[in-house]
Symmetry: C2
Subunit: 446 residues, 2 copies
């Protein structure tokens, strides 16, 4: 039992925090569970060192909203906990017949967003919008993090660098690896080594070879060259990993074999040592051979390698791409039964009401959703689900990636830089500003 920690759509409905279900039971008991509610998903501030975020994860969010259901098995399991002993009977009827019937507005995947700009707005009967919070945050927080890192990597490495996602062994769970691969490709990487992820996404997986193969064949046959020859026999286009014993000695031998016409070689990978020095040596001895680097690389290290004139054509990105500090998106009630709402906890202020983001050359404007369109500006939030049904085709990975790359190229240098970037910040419309002031001044209800 404890080993079965895999996931499918029948698990969606229970994949939530307990309080979403207890609150749903309370709403039902109070007869307010069907009140129209709007929640918006956004970040209060960007992670440190980030000048922008690339929105990602909408496809998985939509999949969740379309598919969650409470079957007999889920309901029986909830009842067996004893937690809901005093919940009203109508709670169980609600769950058993329930599905998502609301509207969803979302920023298309691959779009840069900034603090306080909603990436998603759910307008639905209160209980449905409430229940979805946990999963929606999980999906958008993580994929947005990885897509943003991928866009930064692409921006630093340049358009011709080959960027490969190698993070599965360090990703936070197998599904975390799949989602990281998707978001990395969406944000600007070229390929993933994760075979399942690549196949699910309609992509070709990528990879080189590992030290183990070199060690096995070098041990059995007392020759590193035999390892190279054996691997090239079956995968002639695959790069060889040349740092298992002595990188420069291996390079020298490969160069001699190529000169003698005994070997063809398209690429090599360096996974240790001084990548600047080694890559320059390899380039001079093996001109025309692509050189890949791997080993704890990130956008800062790529920038350092480039500044030091390393001769690298491609990078394998693993640990530092798929782990680290999260995007801290939140999902907040902004309207209930037509009334705008705002939390007033210290240092956690938000903007009330259903909002739209208008993107224009002069910068973004955050406005109430029912304000008149801003001239010469594009609304970022578009309707993607109506009445629980998808009403706009989801973008494919290529479209998302192109959108991200073009948009990042259009951001100011001060926002794209790696060190102390300046995030853009949306101008607040007068109407939104006024609403916020009114609600801030509200007496606190006792």
């Amino acid at each position: 039992m404890t080993a079965a920690l895999n996931l499918g759509p029948t698990d969606y409905s229970l994949l939530t925090d307990l309080y979403q279900l207890t609150m749903t039971a309370c709403y039902t008991g109070e007869g307010i569970e069907q009140q129209p509610a709007s929640f918006e998903l956004f970040t209060r501030r960007l992670p440190p060192d980030f000048g922008y975020l690339i929105a990602a994860g909408l496809a998985q969010a939509v999949d969740y909203l379309r598919q969650w259901r409470f079957g007999d098995e889920q309901i029986t399991a909830l009842q067996a906990t004893g937690i809901f002993a005093q919940a009203p009977d109508r709670f169980w009827t609600l769950l058993a017949g329930g599905r998502f019937t609301g509207d969803v507005w979302a920023v298309p995947e691959g779009t840069p967003v900034f603090a306080h700009e909603p990436m998603l707005r759910v307008e639905a009967p209160l209980w449905q919008a409430q229940l979805a919070e946990t999963y929606l945050l999980n999906v958008l927080n993580y994929q947005t993090l990885i897509a943003t890192r991928a866009a930064r990597l692409r921006d630093v490495a340049g358009p011709t660098a080959i960027l490969l996602e190698f993070g599965t062994r360090r990703a936070f769970s197998p599904q975390g690896a799949l989602w990281a691969a998707r978001a990395a490709l969406a944000g600007g990487l070229d390929a993933t080594s994760n075979v399942l992820a690549a196949l699910r996404l309609g992509q070709k997986p990528a990879g080189t070879m590992a030290h183990a193969l070199v060690m096995v064949i070098a041990t059995l046959q007392d020759s590193e060259d035999e390892a190279f020859t054996a691997f090239s026999r079956y995968f002639p286009d695959s790069p060889l990993l040349i740092d298992t014993y002595d990188t420069l000695a291996a390079t020298q031998r490969l160069a001699q074999q190529m000169e003698r016409g005994e070997r063809s070689l398209t690429g090599v990978r360096l996974d240790s040592g001084d990548l600047v020095e080694l890559s320059q040596q390899v380039r001079s001895r093996l001109p025309g051979v692509k050189i890949f680097a791997s080993g704890d690389l990130d956008e800062w290290e790529i920038a350092r390698l480039q500044a030091a004139d390393a001769c690298l054509d491609g990078y394998g990105l693993g640990t530092r791409l798929v782990s680290g500090r999260p995007v801290n998106g939140v999902y907040k009630l902004v309207e209930i039964a037509g009334q705008p709402t705002m939390k007033q906890s210290s240092h956690k202020e938000t903007y009330p009401g259903r909002k739209q983001v208008w993107r224009q050359a002069a910068g973004d404007r955050l406005a109430l959703a029912d304000e008149a369109p801003l001239p010469n500006a594009t609304p970022l939030l578009v309707l993607v689900m109506r009445g629980g049904e998808l009403c706009r085709p989801l973008d494919d990975l290529t479209t998302i990636r192109q959108r991200a790359t073009a948009a990042v190229a259009g951001l100011p240098a001060r926002t794209r830089c790696l060190t102390e970037p300046e995030p853009l910040s949306a101008e607040i419309s007068p109407a939104l500003r006024q609403l916020r002031a009114e609600l801030s001044g509200d007496r606190i209800p006792a």
Copy 2:
């Protein structure tokens, strides 16, 4: 198609890095795929600020090893990539009939381990042991990270503190949330808010209430107290969240209502503001009511709150528990066809040969597996799978958690402390030291 990023056991075989499959094809072509191989999984160094690691994830590793298979669907998908066009035909036969038939030695979950100490050893036909690398690393790296963090949290918070796992919304994928919940419970936390995780693990989920409920009812009925009353009607034992508007005002009203016998109350949660000051005020006005804190908490913050005499009975741990820097475990070939091996890449030296860790009062000793048992010492690695079958029952979460808690309590204070802890380091047996020297001195095979 892109939305389907969920996972089940039929996905296990493809959930690997491409190079594991290309190397398997190469091994098969060379006729060495059945050579007996041993790989060990360990960390070269602990993450910064960690004095120990708590091994976790074995149950999921075993589930993977028992279940991975290549069916027609997987094989057809691999063939369609074109990558294996020159792979030998025997490669496909091997996959189609293949399952894991090897032995696995592992450190029981919940055991503290240190740098260079294997958490797992796989002894299997080369291709099987090779293919498993990616998934095994993914499983053990992440769960070990979370179990270690949980053990540190328990150690700092003390045995009576209520520690709740609230990380799902910030976890790296939904499955990442499930695995985090499991490892957190294994390492020392009391409960998780993730309903699916709790039910899968045979536990009762835990939680309080969210700001949304307070805002909804306060908006519709113009009263925060009505929100409290409504929620307590259905969940009388659940803590109330009292910081939506004015924490002290809410506290004062609750105190008055309790004095008048109008309300019973078991707990409150604080999610913002000065937790030291607020918790002291709440304690003085609501004696006997449990006070929970949440909001970007971690072991350092709990230590700070305790040192400042905050009056807190429980903590909700989310973002900072489930994300962050990873455990960088590696999985290295240590023996092939009876010959010990060792990678020699710069700064990535390892210890060759199949090893055992002997734990004794005086400290750990890392020795070759076939050395004589050390007197008065316990071998950490035990045989858990023989010939592909489980040969030892997996531990339940309670056992793992008790093991972790007891073991951490037995570590020196300098190893348990949060600031610059000193990890223990295993003594190397003379035989292992000698073998390593011999292999280091080996000529580099050309």
